[in-house]
Structures are given as structure tokens and as C-alpha cells.
Amino acid sequence: MKRRMCSMILTGILVFALSACGGDSGNKKETDQEQKQEEKTEQSDDSQTAQVADELIVLTGSDASTFDPHFCTDSATEIFNKNIFNNLVRFNEDMEIEPDLAKEWSISEDQLTWTFKLEEGVKFHDGTDFNAEAVKTSFERVLDENLGSPRRSVLAAITKIEAVDEHTVNISTDVPCGALLQQLCHPVAAIISPKSLEDYGEEISTHPVGTGAFKFVEWKTGEELVLERNPEYFKGAPAVEKVYFRVVPEDATRALLLQSGQADVALRLPVTETDRLESDPNVTIQKGDTVMTMYVALNNSKGVLQDEKVRQAMNYAVDKDVIVNDILGGMATVSDSPISPYTWGYNSSMKYECDVEKAKELLAEAGYPDGIELELWTPVGRYLMDTQVSENLQAQWEKAGIHVNIRQWEFQALMSEVKNGGFDMVLLGWSPSTGDADQGLYPVFHSSQFPPNSNRAFYNNPDVDALLDSAKTEVDENARKDMYAEAEKTIMEDAAWTFLYYPKQALSYRSNVSGIEMLPTEHIMLEKVTKQ
């Protein structure tokens, strides 16, 4: 008897649940259809301009973190945010500064105030107007210390934002700031709809409302992110209806899905996969440079590495071409400066051509004719082929009498231990996200930036400090460039690091896709993408 009652109740619940589900999905279908019809009418409107493809499937290796650009710190998510939001200015593929939401700009005579004329008639995805107030709200949000934006320092030079009128904004700094425009290109300088900040409050991180080419639709954690085209995009509506970013962590899997046509674009494939795909006529591989530089930070404040000659020997002992060609499959360029060619202020300073004999001589001059023993710390899986590069360095140094032991760390533990300064050498990468020498050199070479800041090599040269300080406040481009050239040359000669290479990036897509912009900052812009 009891049992029967139980089963009856259970059946009841089940039927109810099922009917509820059924009703739900039915409703959803209807609204879907309605939406489609609406979209169709829209489509016919601009059919004279371009054919709009239904969907674009992009495979990414890592999932999004936060869609609040003021809090986002990983380049994988920056790619999504860059397609949802706009900045006042932006980089093009050659890292030149172009207008974005600002049409034009000028600097005051005292070099302290920048005036930006804004695009008119631009609307946020929530229908509100983009204006000077929005710029002010966004920047002040980043600068609010209590809010805790982890990239506040990028805009920290700004002291005042003033909305002069609806479409003019003044940005002031206390001292002249040479890299201000570059800083405004950084993802953290994205303009968010002020209304959305009020509407969503804490939940803004999953409700991004920008002015960008694509609107946020849905994010399934660990699975996919869906964006849809913004028909009112001020630079022209994009030519795909929906973009699906799917999370596929395994490189080989991304390559296979692209090859089999189950996806249109695959981000960040390693060279082992792109080599294989290159023979496929249906797939196009686009390679490009980045602003990143890979290096071994030599601890300038510890043991034998305090000696400049030893540090130079570490550089001469390594044949960087071997690493670039054999391990990275050519997907890098050998370093000839502390910053990469796509960073503003780069100057080809000098190369440490591999010379094992010279390395041995330098070691002998420094008083170590029998060689030295050091420890190299390496992250695992953080940078492309990181442990492999470390193993190769170990083998190469061995030939010059530099015996190196490797210690492999999980990345976060590595960073927290490096702060304590107890290491000899550590393999790291530096990617100046403003694409400017100020960000490329100051944090990593200025003596005020010792750990816990980013000068992890404990490099200390007063001449370089002075050059970096004055270049920071120099607005004249040529004068600034000269200062950086000199600083770079000194840093190379001092052998602050073992300078390795500038990694390249690869974008792989089906050959019927075109118009994707790939920036050296490793951002992928889809606003001009087309798919036949």
C-alpha cells in the first residue's frame, strides 16, 4: 500500500516536471522563430551591402574569465571583450594608432590636457547614447582605488576627465604623458554603458554592454560564448549573424575540428598543428608578430650572476636560432632588443651571436675557468613549449661549461616564489599590453620596480633609470624614441637577461573566411570578418 502511494506521488511529480519542461521549450521555440523573422527583415535591409553569414564558429583554448573589461587580465578573454567594446582609440595591425570612438584628438600647449572629439550618434547595445559622460564614467570607474581594477596602473597617469560637451572630452595628467594614446588602446580603457553599470551592479561581469560590433548573448561556462551582430555598429554592421566561441583546451582537437570543417576559426594553434594543417587547401594559416618577448631573467643581485661578464657569457652560450627553428618551428624571431619590433620605441640594438668559445673566455675572465653551476626555474605549460625551451637551454649551456639544473614550477607558485628573490634564473615572458616601450621597459628594468613588482631580474642601472624616467614624461616622439634606443642598448650590453626570442602568433581559419584582424597585442578583431 505504502509503496503504491509512493509510486503514485513520484509519477505525479514526474508528469508535472515533464509538462513544465515541455511547455518551456515550446515557448522558447516560438520566441526563437519570432526573432528569426525579425532578423530576416533586418537582413533584407542591408542585403545590398553584403551577404550576412549565419554563424562563425571560433575555437579557443581557454574559457572567458570576466566580461567586465575593467577587471579582465587574461588575453584570451580580452579577445572577446575587444569585440564587444570599443576604446577611444585603437591599434591597427601594424600597431599604429587609429580613431575608434574618438574621431580626432589634440594636445594642449602645456602638454597636460588631451582633447578628444567623439563619434556622434553611436549607441550602446542597450540603446543608450554614447557620449562624453560615458567616457568619464568608465575611466573614473577604472581609477577608483576602492573598486580594485587590477589594471588601474595602466591609466594611473590620468588625473582628471572632463566632459566638455556631449561629444568632447578632456583628459588631463599632472605631468606630460608620452604614452597616453597607447594606454588608451589598452583593453582596460574600454567604454562601458553607464546605464548597464547601474542596472547590473555586481553582475556586470556577465552582462557586458558596449558599443562594439557584437552583442553578448550567452555564456556557458567551460563550453561556449555566443555573440550576435550589432546591426547598428557605427563602423558598419558585421557580416555574420552569430559568433560562437567554443572552448576546446586540447590543441590537437582544435586543429582537427577546424580541418574537418566543424569550425571556422581556431585560435592559438601550436606549430606542430599548423605545420600539419598547412598542406590542407581548405585551411589558411595566418602568422603574425606579437609584442611579446621571451627571456631568462638572470638574478642580477645574486651570486655569480652579479658579474656582468658571467651574464654576457650566458647570452653568448646560447644559439637562439636553434630554439627558434628546431623547437618553435620558426614561430619566433631572435631577440635583438629587450622589446619586440612591434612595440613603439623599439630599436634594433645588438644581437648576442652564439659563440661558445667567447662565453668560455668571459667566464674565465670573470674567474670561473672551470665553469659555474646554476639553477633555472621554469613554468610548465604557461608559455608555448616552455619546458622544452628550458631543457634545450640546459643542454646548450652545458656545452659552455655552465651546468644548469632545472626546477619546474606550477606558474602561480613560481611567481609567488620568484618574489622572494632566491632564484638564479627564471624563464619568463613579457608582453607590454599598451604596445609601448614605457610598458615594455619601465616595469621590468627600472630599479624602483623590484619584486613584488615586475623587475624580477633585480636589474639596477642608474643611467637606465634616468632614461626611462625622462622618456615617461616626454611627449615629443623623436626625443622619446632616442631615449628608449639608448636605454635598450645599455640593457643589452649589461646583459640584464638572457635575451631569447619574440614569439609569433598563428591564426588558422577555413579558406572561405576572410577579413579577420590579428593584432600584435594578440587580439583578434572580427568586425570585418566575412564568410562565403
Partner: protein, 275 residues
């Protein structure tokens, strides 16, 4: 001696022991016999197995055969060291819990249950991350994560023996607690503990390899088998032999240990002895 002979009558034990001996010999003598497992020569990278490179070469052109041979000691060490650690810890905890019973027992066993509630991979991962990286770190982590397993087993053995007549007899003869635990209870319950320890070597080797596979194990350039498999993941399309050989090596090692464990169980466990 006669025990050993009896066990040796079991063919699986003979096979297991032979493989294990061979592995020990390989791991001790091997590194002197093969060419350098670290020598990189990218001119011959990713060559399939041939007369010159029996197991082919990896993505740096290093000889896979040399690497497998050189890596043997690591897996064996990982298995034994972690089990010795886990056994020692488990023995101490389990012995006291089982002998004294009461609140101490309840607390210790609750802690064990709590630790056992975590998947062992995650527990080992967390312990590795807490410690500084080094060659013994993964082994210690695997060892710690197996302490609760041993503790529960030892405790169960001790519980059942605690009330038995011979303990009463020894106690009335004036023996102290420690003496009873280590001289009388332990030898009498050692059988199942040895079985568990032997079988645990196998799973410890697997767990250590898993940690390496996840990048939290052996330090480079040690050619650890799990790490080699992890590296092979990028080459399943182009050089699938790279994923084959380290896996076979791990499996053979674990099979050998498990064969011995099974034979020991057949011999020591009276319930299955006659089957």
C-alpha cells in the same frame, strides 16, 4: 625460506618477480649502457622506430629507448618510497587507533574518512602544490595521500586482535602497550598489511605517473614515463608510437608488482588460499 618457496610455486609470482628484478637491473645498470637520454639532435626528431633507434626519437631527436631505460628508476622509486611513507604513517595512526580505541580512534578514523572522501588525484595534486617542487615531492604527496588507506586497514586488524586471548595473556605477563603493539599485534596482523602494501605500490606508480602527466610530477629533464606520455599528446597524429611505449613500460611495471601482490594474497589470506 619455506614460505618463499611456497610463494614461488605460484607461477604468477615467478613472472612478477622476474619482471621486477629485470626492471631493477635495468634501472641500475641501464643508464651506463645506453646513449645519453638528454642529447638533443633535432636533425633526427620524430623518427619512427628503426634499427638505430629501437623506440624511435622524440620531438627533440632524443632516443626514446634511452629515455625509457633512464626513466625506469623513477617509477620504481616512486612506487616504493611512497608506499613506505604511507605505510609508516598509516601503521602508526592505525595501530594507536586500533589498540586504544575510544575517542582517539573515533577522531583518527573520522580524519581518515575525511581524507578518503577526496579523490586521491586531487589530494595528491594539492599536496604537491603546497610543497616546493623537487624530485621527491610527488612521491611524498602520493605517500601522504595513501596514509588513510593503511591506517584503516591496520586499525581493523588491531581491533580484531585486541580482545583476543593471547593479548590478555601477554598483558597479564606484564608487557607494556608499546611492546604489545609492536612485538605481538603487529607481527600477527602483518599479512593483510603486506598484501595491501604490495598492491598499493602499483597504484602509487600510476598516481605518480598521473601527476607527471598533469605537469606536477617529475622534474625535467628526467624522462619520467608519465611526463613522456603527456608530451606525446601533441603527436598522436604524426608520431603515435611516442604515446605507445611509455604506456607499455608503466603497465608492465604495475603488472609485475600486482602479480606479486596477488600471489602474496593467495598465500597469506586464508580465505582465498584454497582457491
Amino acid at each position: 625460506m619455506s614460505t618463499f618457496r611456497k610463494i614461488m610455486r605460484n607461477p604468477s609470482a615467478v613472472v612478477g618477480l622476474c619482471i621486477l628484478l629485470l626492471l631493477v637491473v635495468v634501472s641500475i645498470a641501464g643508464p651506463f649502457l645506453v646513449e645519453s637520454p638528454y642529447e638533443q639532435n633535432t636533425a633526427v626528431k620524430l623518427m619512427p622506430p628503426s634499427a638505430e633507434h629501437w623506440f624511435g626519437t622524440d620531438d627533440f631527436g632524443r632516443d626514446v629507448f634511452s629515455r625509457i631505460v633512464t626513466g625506469a628508476h623513477y617509477s620504481l622509486l616512486a612506487g616504493f618510497i611512497s608506499v613506505i611513507l604511507g605505510l609508516t604513517g598509516g601503521l602508526l595512526l592505525g595501530a594507536f587507533a586500533g589498540f586504544y580505541g575510544g575517542l582517539l580512534d573515533q577522531i583518527l578514523m573520522t580524519v581518515c574518512d575525511i581524507l578518503l572522501a577526496f579523490p586521491s588525484v586531487l589530494l595528491a595534486m594539492a599536496i604537491v602544490m603546497v610543497m616546493e617542487p623537487g624530485i621527491y615531492t610527488p612521491m611524498v604527496a602520493v605517500g601522504i595521500s595513501s596514509i588513510p588507506v593503511f591506517a584503516r586497514l591496520v586499525r581493523a586488524q588491531f581491533m580484531s586482535l585486541r580482545e583476543s586471548c593471547f593479548v590478555e595473556a601477554v598483558r597479564s605477563a606484564g608487557a607494556g602497550d608499546l611492546r604489545i603493539i609492536f612485538r605481538h599485534l603487529l607481527p600477527n596482523s602483518i599479512g593483510p598489511i603486506i598484501i595491501q602494501a604490495t598492491l598499493r605500490i602499483g597504484s602509487s606508480i600510476l598516481l605518480a605517473a598521473t601527476l607527471s602527466f598533469l605537469g606536477l610530477g617529475a622534474q625535467p629533464p628526467t624522462p619520467e614515463w608519465g611526463a613522456m606520455l603527456s608530451a606525446a599528446r601533441n603527436y598522436v597524429w604524426t608520431a603515435s608510437y611516442l604515446a605507445l611505449i611509455p604506456g607499455i613500460a608503466i603497465t608492465i611495471t604495475v603488472v609485475a608488482v600486482n602479480l606479486i601482490g596477488d600471489a602474496l594474497r593467495d598465500y597469506l589470506d586464508p580465505r582465498t588460499r584454497n582457491m
